[in-house]
């Protein structure tokens, strides 16, 4: 006996094609079933068949005019067809029926963001997030909106939340990219960083005695750590590495990584600009006397 619960398992496992086939089969035996219509409509949208989604979800709201999630899903299908006006109308209708529908708020926020109205986007997304703080898309949307209005600290905080909610998703990867961009903005906001220059110099001295493989190992380990986010503006916060003993600040590790990667391939785009600090450090390093000096 076929069962809608199995279709839901398939959806959760992202086997949408299989879920769609099963739901179509179930719908034949139970044509007006609310859950089947709703989930089938959602599958069509995700499988890039928005016309079929609209047809199915319209039937759902016709049969169940008070089912707010169906209006959200219908709005989402319209947004896939780039019909933002109809999409917005359906999200608003969902909110009329259920003012705390977090998905309606999230999608409406997304539409405002798309129209560059970040103030309204933030309002909707903040409300949505307060209702559903486990939703990664909302956290990411908030990070993105705050980033676009220049509230970098808030943006960074929400990107961090998005990553922590589920690190395995594409959204988490995008949030990580933004955090790197924010780190660079923060770094350069203070102009030339003498501390970074000294860390670069220290790295040049350290790597002089290491093999290219050891340098690569250290740089890549820092790079992996950097994906989780290194706090480069807080010298109190310390990190450790498997490939090197001691504890290090975020800026120190970032500088070491920069130098290491430049030693591996000078043309490499590292995504974080420490070129001035690195060049100054190189100059100092090349002037170093035979007896040398040590920077701690």
């Amino acid at each position: 006996m076929k069962n809608i619960n199995y279709a839901l398992m398939l959806i959760k496992a992202n086997k949408l094609d299989g879920a769609k086939d099963l739901l179509e089969e179930l719908l034949q035996n139970d044509p007006g079933n609310q859950d089947i219509l709703y989930n089938l409509g959602m599958c069509y949208t995700e499988l890039n068949e928005p016309e079929k989604a609209i047809e199915t979800l319209s039937e759902c709201v016709r049969c169940y005019p008070h089912y707010s999630n169906a209006y959200v899903a219908l709005g989402f299908a319209y947004s896939r067809l780039a019909d933002d006006e109809k999409a917005r109308d359906h999200f608003i209708r969902a909110l009329e029926l259920e003012p705390s529908n977090s998905y309606a708020l999230r999608n409406l926020g997304g539409l405002y963001g798309k129209a560059d109205d970040y103030e309204k986007a933030v309002q909707c997304l903040e409300k949505s997030f307060s209702i559903n703080p486990e939703d990664q898309q909302t956290a990411y949307g908030l990070g993105y909106s705050y980033f676009n209005v220049g509230k970098i600290d808030k943006a960074d905080n929400y990107f961090k939340i998005a990553i922590n909610l589920d690190e395995s998703t594409k959204i988490a990867d995008m949030a990580k990219d933004f955090r790197r961009e924010i780190a660079e903005i923060n770094l350069k906001a203070k102009g030339f960083r003498a501390d970074a220059m000294f860390y670069c110099l220290s790295a040049l001295q350290l790597f002089r005695d290491k093999t290219p493989e050891q340098v690569r190992q250290i740089a890549f380990e820092i790079g992996m750590k950097g994906r989780q986010g290194l706090d480069i503006n807080n010298p109190e916060k310390k990190y450790t590495l498997d490939s090197m003993s001691g504890s290090f600040t975020g800026l120190q590790l970032t500088s070491y990584m920069y130098v290491g990667l430049k030693m591996i391939d000078p043309k490499l785009d590292i995504g974080l600009d420490l070129s001035e600090e690195y060049n100054q450090a190189l100059e100092l390093f090349n002037k170093e006397r035979p007896h040398g000096y040590t920077i701690h």
Binding site: M1, K2, N3, N5, Y6, M9, L10, K12, A13, N14, K15, D17, G18, A19, D21, L22, E167, S168
Partner: protein
């Protein structure tokens, strides 16, 4: 030694080929936990793989038919609706975090270098139990009903499994296992043997009388008998019900049958 197939094993192997479109390659392998283990063929594999211990006895015939039972169930399901359970480091971490206190309490008994290995055994063992026992019940019922000539071997094989299961009732195991894991494991074993015993007319659960697993075990048995849809889809839904019942539903997730690691098809 090579496997000496008895009836109906050759016919079952033929049926596997007819249903799945692929034959079975038998590969001798030492250090297996059982006499035989199966890797079902994915799209890019030319055959299913059954690994077997060189040193085995005739029980292996029952085990091969049992593994073929898993194959039949999965390959009768439409390709895009096949699901397999999986777990990863994050899920393992989250799961073990919840029983951190129970694990910490055991550090008084177990040494640090033993801990990591044993934690792995508990975690993987419990997932293997919850994701295998429900379909195993249906497969064993099928074997009993369809292949009377295998009944004697089946009984021998189930008794071997029972001996391993009831070791979970001993004081020694109880002292060295986190209570949450021990309870879930024993409740699931009880359910498996209760249902099968009733089906084949054997009292497998004598050793469980007056244990704390009886009540929950009977409850899980009732859920299983009442709701089982005898297909791959039904297996997966019942696995979820069992996992929820013993409170480990976040220990694993589902993904498509074909989504296996690139080295899955290796014969080593």
């Amino acid at each position: 030694m090579d496997i000496q197939f008895i009836d109906p094993v050759p016919a079952v192997i033929e049926e596997v080929k007819s249903i799945s479109g692929k034959g079975i390659e038998f590969i001798p392998k030492e250090n297996l936990a059982t006499y035989a283990a199966l890797k079902m063929a994915r799209k890019d594999m030319s055959s299913h793989l059954i690994f077997y211990k060189k040193e085995h006895d005739e029980i292996i015939n029952h085990l091969i038919v049992h593994e073929c039972g898993h194959l039949f169930r999965i390959f009768k399901c439409p390709e895009n609706q096949r699901l397999m359970p999986y777990s990863d480091q994050q899920m393992k971490y989250n799961a073990l975090k919840k029983i951190e206190d129970e694990i910490c309490a055991l550090t008084k008994i177990l040494s640090e270098d033993q801990m990591a290995h044993i934690i792995d055994l508990w975690y993987n063992g419990l997932i293997r139990q919850v994701t295998n026992l429900p379909p195993d019940i249906m497969i064993e019922k099928w074997i009993y009903d369809k292949f009377p000539t295998l009944r004697q071997l089946q009984l021998k094989s189930l008794n071997k499994q029972l001996t391993e299961a009831v070791s979970g009732l001993t004081e020694t195991v109880a002292r060295m296992t986190p209570p949450t894991i021990l309870f879930a494991s024993n409740v699931m074993n009880y359910t498996f043997f209760r249902i099968l015993g009733l089906h084949i007319g054997e009292n497998f659960i004598r050793r469980y009388s007056s244990t704390p697993y009886l009540g929950k075990g009977k409850e899980l048995s009732a859920i299983t008998e009442k709701d089982y849809n005898d297909t791959h889809e039904g297996d997966n839904m019942m696995i979820n019900k069992w996992a929820t019942f013993v409170n480990i539903s976040d220990w694993f997730k589902w993904r498509g049958f074909e989504e296996v690691p690139p080295d899955y098809g290796n014969t080593g």
